[in-house]
């Protein structure tokens, strides 16, 4: 308990420090990429719990993001009304006022996504492998189609004018919370049970592990953080539309996981950073080489080469730790 609090305080202070540093010394473009990295980390690490630890191949992460984004946007925008006398916008509920009101809005978004995770998790439990992937893909599409057709959430145009709440501070804080809690999950009796399900479902069940319950738990956990990430992304982009959370978004997160090594938490983080930074870094190359469009070719090539030469991902199922580093460095113990 003390350790958790200490870690939280350390993380929040660190995020605060980094936020200040970025604001003072780093150009806005770079800060934006760092923010996107933070969001990508939340997405990849949370999907890793479903796909990597529990071994349930889900393609519905963007759907959970969309729910989180729209619900939190509802609380930060729709609940604001124009005061006709003063001409100011005021918030109907003081809970959602100002930048601090962002947190309850985000959390509600996350919880809405978690509820969706429960709804998706229960019926799709019996499905395995490709079938589960298709069912979750279907879920994502249903969310998008519904959002596209509801006029009250702007239909295909989406919701504009989200307040500028997603500062580096909040993004880094939530990324930190997501990573720490996922490490804690992984290194607990629940994490071992999830891995047991992935490794051998029948044996896990015979050992008394309640497989159905744990799978739903993994879905809810992953969906909650996907919802948070969706809310953060919405308030960073400040405009959300259904197309932001399309099928390709889910694929993008899966690719991050596969690149880093499915089942490795540190791999997920590295994958998230690489796949967020790489397209931007290649943009420079593109401009200098005067070859517009080469960016995506290189991006694809990197992925293809990785799948040929290291199909298990950069880290496989291992974690990047000091121990592993020591072993890999020259002169280290074998």
């Amino acid at each position: 308990m003390h350790r958790t609090l200490l870690l939280l305080v350390a993380g929040v202070s660190l995020a605060f420090g980094v936020d200040w540093f970025l604001g003072e010394f780093i150009e806005e473009y770079v800060v934006r990429i760092i923010n996107l990295c933070g969001i990508a980390i939340i997405l990849a690490v949370s999907l890793n719990v479903i796909n990597g630890l529990c071994g349930q191949f889900s393609l519905g992460h963007a759907g959970f993001m969309a729910i989180g984004a729209y619900v939190s946007a509802y609380f930060t925008t729709t609940l604001r009304v124009l005061n006709t006398e003063t001409g100011e916008t005021v918030v109907r509920s003081p809970l959602f006022d100002g930048a601090w009101g962002f947190v309850p809005a985000l959390l509600i978004g996350g919880m809405a996504a978690a509820a969706a995770g429960l709804v998706v998790g229960v019926p799709t439990l019996r499905l395995k492998g490709d079938y589960l992937a298709i069912a979750t893909l279907g879920f994502g599409e249903i969310v998008i189609i519904m959002l596209t057709n509801f006029e009250s959430v702007g239909a295909a145009r989406g919701l504009p004018g989200l307040p500028n709440y997603a500062s580096s501070f909040w993004i880094l804080t939530f990324a930190w919370i997501c990573v720490v809690s996922s490490v804690f999950l992984q290194r607990s009796t629940f994490g071992r049970a999830l891995i047991a399900i992935r490794e051998n479902e029948l044996a896990a069940e015979v050992m008394g592990i309640r497989v159905a319950r744990l799978k739903v738990m993994a879905f809810i956990y992953g969906a909650f953080f996907a919802g948070l990430a969706g809310g953060l992304l919405g308030h960073l982009l400040r405009t959300i539309s259904p197309s932001t959370f399309g099928f390709m978004k889910s694929i993008e997160v899966v690719v991050m996981l596969v690149l880093g090594g499915l089942g490795s938490l540190t791999g997920a983080i590295v994958g998230a950073i690489v796949l967020t930074v790489l397209p931007e870094a290649l943009r420079d190359v593109e401009q200098q080489a005067k070859l517009p469009g080469i960016r995506m070719v290189v991006y694809a090539l990197v992925l293809i080469l990785l799948m040929i030469f290291r199909p298990q991902g950069i880290f496989g199922q291992r974690e990047l730790s000091l121990k592993l580093l020591r072993r890999l460095l020259p002169g280290g113990r074998k």
């Binding site: 958790t4 009796t189 071992r192 490794e199 069940e205 008394g208």
Partner: protein, 254 residues
Amino acid sequence: MTALLQTSGLTIQFGGLTAVDAFDCAIQPGDLYGIIGPNGAGKTTVFNMLTGVYLPTAGVAHFDGTLINGCSPAQVSALGISRTFQNIRLFDELSVLENAMTGAHQHAKINLFDSLLRTPRHYREEKRQRDRAYELLQFMGLEERAGLPAKQLPYGHRRKLEIARALATEPRLICLDEPAAGMNTGEKAELSALIRRIRDELKVTVLLIEHDMKLVMGICEKIQVLDYGKTIALGTPKEIQSNPKVIEAYLGGE
């Protein structure tokens, strides 16, 4: 004395094939009970019915007075029946110790938030599982390999780890499915002693499927012989050895 496990008329059909036909048995607490039979006799199928993997077509099975057919594997496990698998099913990516710890998971009385917030209850639970798992690894002679990934264990040790994992569920009845398969003579002797100690020291009733006659005859007190899904003999090792039906099933009749 009431039987710990009592089945009557336990039958399962796959399509037109009756894999197990009217399996009756009564296993008393403290028994070391063997089920033998030629390949395809339906021994493992009996285990699968007892542990909730298969739903019997007909018949009933009672464990300590509770009806267990229709229970899920996890429910059966919670009642106190655990098992090992003929084709080893370890959690390869987990360490040896962690494999044994997963057996103790079902007795965890904490919720997810205890673990996410690292409450004292989480640490107590981790310690309980680790201590129990380590004890059982010591019992099986695997403690020196506790930190190794399970996939790196040699074959004989993998079988022992399966037993340790099954024991970690704190069963009252453990079903061992060909635990000596693929072991050499020395390992088999060691295993026989271990199985006896499971019954005598851990007070767990043992139900054993085994192909190795010497092992079965050496340690089991009661033996039931299956052939084509039917029970053809039941008795002490001595009675079984001299039973003409058993000899016919194994060596073929005229």
